[in-house]
Point group: D2
């Protein structure tokens, strides 16, 4: 392919599935390039060894299978949760936050192996192509990024399957027709999009859901848990210290069982159209509530309000693929500065889709019953101060009212 004439070696984000196997072969045949595969364990579930075997079968010499779960949670998920990030008020950014990590590894492997390009399997209509590519460009200005879905000449599913057949790529039975929806998954969430979900008036069928039971099918009993935080990140569950990925996996199990974290959303893609997705973020949904609860007693009002005001921008940057952009890093510096004393314990009840905060406590608490009590506060607060406070806050409004009456 003329466009990629100079490409000699490509690092491919490889899942082992049919689509990325076709891409692998297309890179070999159309570009005549050597392919290095990178398969990441992001906690998506399922074995990775079959991906290795398949890559071998397709003639790959340099196969990288890496467990990045701890890195994913420590360096990407937790920093994002410090911000209470929600895109368009509702979406916990499960897909968005994984893409920069993958690009980071692809670029690193390119550097290690002397590859001149990386490749991904995202289509030309979605956000993921943007996230992969902006991340790669921010890490290496000269890297080439190949997005075969935008370049190849296949016009239909049949073309793809024919190509697979021509190149001895095994096609699983259930892939011979078109999937009723497409899925992305990692430790933070599963998302489902497309076909059966394309009518935003039609309720998502139950079978679309990947990793949560329905609230209606969840147990009738309440599950009570505690989460402990330090510097804004969860560090223990029910009193047990756990590594980031282990803790997150436990929260996912708890959320799954209790029907927590489903979201049916029509969102605005960065590439300009609206799309409908079904997201399941069981552990993240619990974590968001718990994090807000511990912030409630440990974060100053000025700090908290500033965080809330910049949050939509921060979430938008992540959604749009600007994780490695300086403005995201600047916002992160602001957020991290606020989290230094966000520590303590939160108690929650999980019940049929509900995450109910029932208590929070901290050695770093800013809550003071002495100040707030209806009873005698022994001088902690002088109610007379309120009069001056209100009068000076109101002075400009009174001046304005007097002017408007003139």
């Amino acid at each position: 392919m003329a466009k990629w004439d100079n490409v000699k070696k490509v690092v491919l984000a490889y899942s082992g599935g049919l689509d990325t196997s076709i891409i692998l072969k297309w890179l070999q045949t159309e570009l005549d390039a050597e392919v290095v595969t990178f398969t990441a364990d992001l906690g998506q579930g399922g074995e990775l060894e079959p991906a290795r075997a398949k890559a071998e079968l397709l003639g790959i010499k340099d196969i990288r299978v890496v467990d990045v779960r701890e890195e994913f949670v420590s360096d990407f998920v937790f920093p994002m949760f410090r911000a209470n990030a929600l895109y368009e008020g509702l979406y916990l950014l499960g897909t968005s936050i994984a893409r920069p990590l993958i690009s980071k590894h692809l670029v690193q492997i390119a550097h290690e192996t002397g590859a001149d390009a990386i490749a991904h399997g995202a289509t030309g209509k979605g956000n993921d192509q943007v996230r992969f590519e902006l991340s790669a460009y921010a890490l290496d200005p000269d890297i080439k990024v190949i997005a075969p879905w935008r370049d190849w000449s296949f016009k239909s599913r049949t073309d793809l399957l024919n190509f697979a057949q021509d190149h001895q790529i095994p096609v699983p039975k259930d892939k011979q027709g078109e999937a009723p929806f497409s899925v992305d998954a990692n430790l933070l969430h599963s998302s489902s999009e497309g076909k059966v979900l394309e009518d935003p008036w039609a309720e998502p069928p139950e079978y679309v859901h990947q990793r949560t039971v329905s609230p209606m099918d969840a147990p009738d009993e309440v599950t009570e848990i505690t989460i402990e935080f330090a510097k804004g990140d969860p560090i223990a569950l029910n009193g047990e210290k756990l590594s980031p990925a282990t803790l997150f996996a436990r929260l996912n199990d708890l959320g799954r069982d209790n029907g927590i974290g489903r979201l049916d959303l029509v969102e605005n893609r960065f590439v300009g159209m609206k799309s409908r997705g079904v997201y399941e973020t069981p552990g993240g949904t619990i974590l968001l509530q718990a994090h807000r609860a511990i912030e409630q007693i440990t974060l100053d009002r000025g700090a908290g309000h500033l965080k809330d005001e910049i949050m939509p921008r921060y979430a938008e940057l992540i959604y749009n693929g600007f994780w490695f952009a300086p403005e995201r890093e600047m916002l992160q510096a602001l957020i991290d500065k606020s989290q230094e004393k966000v520590e303590g314990e939160v108690r929650l009840k999980l019940y049929k889709g509900n995450v109910i905060v029932t208590g929070r406590r901290s050695d770093q608490s800013l809550y003071s019953d002495a100040l707030v009590t209806f009873e005698d506060d022994r001088g902690a607060y002088d109610q007379k101060d309120a009069e001056g406070f209100i009068r000076l806050n109101g002075l400009r409004l009174r001046t304005l009212a007097a002017r408007n009456r003139r």
Copy 2:
């Protein structure tokens, strides 16, 4: 009282309860002022006629009992919901939004009756004094606002009860001790604060809740509803056109029965301390989800993101009592401009605390399956465009990466 020497006539926000009855009598005796009472039906529940009777008993000549429910919902609640307003990410501002309406009526009645002051029963530690007073000052720069809780010399509950007894104010049996918590209610919400809630680690007792069943006690069956919107406001429920207050009351009933809208929050007061409240906003919680859902298909991305970014500021203004401030009105102009075509229908399932959006449709929809489909879109979208889009979005990041590598 020297401070209020010139006050001759006062309009009092009068609930008919013990506290405002004591205030009424205190205004008569300490200030030697004529008192006009204003009792508003904000949908708080309970009869208002007893308040009229009690005012008569206490010698009031000019007694105003007004049903302001439609005004409350049309002119205050709905405009606020157009913004998806949440204070500190969670609180639906049920108390905050009612205060400016009450002040507006107090000031109007003052003008009608030639009163030179208004009075309210909010304490010196809370936000409500600020909201009442800033609203009043913004509407009349010369109005005097009397906050007896800040001025009188009573030191304890016993002092208050003694004063009541001395002035033939009936004290209901259940008011002779101190209340385990205090309540504010209107059509939008009930809030509970104080005493049994003052330890933020202790779970709120079930009996604190005023207007919702617990999710655990809600029916095992799903309730499905539809809400229709026009210009950002709900206009019909299950196909039936309803007035704002009627519609809201119906949503409250639906929410109450399904355990929807409870919130246990530690929040930051404008007067500077943290306080813990339990809020119940059954109808509002449903409405917020439904409004976001109809916006998802009818609001442009740029419009929606701008709204999300200014929302925390808007909510803070309302919380702090600046409803009648020019910056709130400017933000409202911005928000209202965005809502012109926010219309259509949302379908939701209510189930044990869950509000589950299952569909949305609109004649003004911006959602296009032609654009988003995985299948052949017949040219609606050219995937090649994505390459240029990404490359130019990435140009500055590549320039930066090249610089940083130098």
Copy 3:
């Protein structure tokens, strides 16, 4: 040209200069399209009739020459100045604000004449292509926009001149070599870019400047003027009521003579690179200072601060070409709401590059010497109020300090 095969009639933004004449001929010959020309008098200076004559010479039947100066100032420049808009802190957006007006007329003429496309002469590296095209798309989703600089196969200036010669397009002597810089001009400003300006360390040569004398060459005498405002817009100069464009032209003359409004800037283009420009905005620089001065006494603090906070976003939207986007219109609604009582008079001194505000007065003034005076204010302000004001503003800081000391 295959890409534009279906185009039958094109409305071209035509200046009468060499470049747009080549475009005109290219559209006729390469696309075999009928061309309608639109030449706007935006106050750029110079005659428009030669453009008409040249279009006739090139065989155009439908020639539109329109004086849009009043529309430009009333509907674009003044609304923008209500916001005190500055891009990147310094740039008055003189080019950016003219582009949507031109697109609006191009699309209107396309509708009137049944044209299926519009064309402009902006290159593929700049912001103007974006502004023209986004404006057009926002006004007509089906319009085709042809940007010949991106499409044609000319590789060099020589290719262009050869094409001109081949098609009997007269080439003025001074256009036979390459220009040392390129210019855009309208009633608001002149900009110069390119070649001699490309080294940001090299001082712009004096001959680059189009419409201002150097501060060093301006008169030694001060010129004093007054500007009167209503609803945020200037309506009179030195007591004389003038139409928007006339008033603006007068301000330009005053600024030009006094060396006002030069700017040497390296800015960030929307398409991703930095560029260096020299801008001259004589009248606009005066107007900005005057508008801020009248706002100082007529605008409430809350309103003013909100305006200041959203201003960078507003300016960025205009710079990037989103004039007709809903978020710009929402921000405009917010801004316009604030300007209702921005009226009164400002006095300024103009002197060798300086715009010095020396006074402002208004019937709608919010300034009160009674409040601010160091002398006896007869009770307008109670200094005791400040204590409570400070204590409650400081309460959270004290709580924090106590926590941090623990």
Copy 4:
């Protein structure tokens, strides 16, 4: 004085002038408190030794005279200039930024000396009381802050002078009448307020200005300078490395001589009223332009725009006295993160009030003529990319236009 009954030792911010001498004596006589004086050299000009002598004369045992100029510029002025901070678009915050430094020293000395209170000479109408007190409370939650102007019973200037006479405080001849305006000065600026400036329509008399010649009186010759930056701060002037305070003093001299940095402003005070001030910030005005210029070539667009958007909030926090609040520190973390590579050189011309940037260069430049040139860029930028960029940016606008046409 009952209110301060428990105060035994007070640290007073002492200028040596009449007003703070009266306060000193008032603290001794009315509070019967031991007084420690703190006199800071902030670069306000004038000798400090007379203040020491006068304090001795008034019986002070513990007299602290400290040169804080380097600390002031390094830890307060430069961090603020990294943000390009302007309050209400124009004011360089010269008074605001000095107050927290003074409070910091007062509190430190209180800790060293076992004092239980600090005292300042700011009146009850201004912002400075707020700045002093919020800073103190943020550093020591238990510190008492005495503001004698709010507490004492003097009703007039005559009362003050009588008190001075009664207590053998020398009253300079020129202080026997009332000053025609009041002044604050430090290395960053001088401000003048009050009396002759109270009518915002009246031009400030020339004699009000403290530290700049009028532009009209400045030399006819241009002065050309260069400023070198590292990490966003100036480090050298005309090639000479200088300490922060020395460099700043030199800039002040240059600004003073060339009539630079005068501002006549009506601003909004935090305590609620508008006031008119005349500010002179000669060096700061030069520095702001120079800093923006070096940012223009070294700061990424995303970083720069984010800084511009948060700047008004940052400036407001400083103006209102929240220097030591967590939200200011969070914003500072964001700003400082952006400045890591803001380094290089700026060349400026100073001429009769004008600060004219004529060049900027940096080893960390992000400016690329290869990208921006009108001439052949040898493939650095592909103009075809612009088409996709525009089309996807315009997609939502076209969708909207199509909807609105339905």
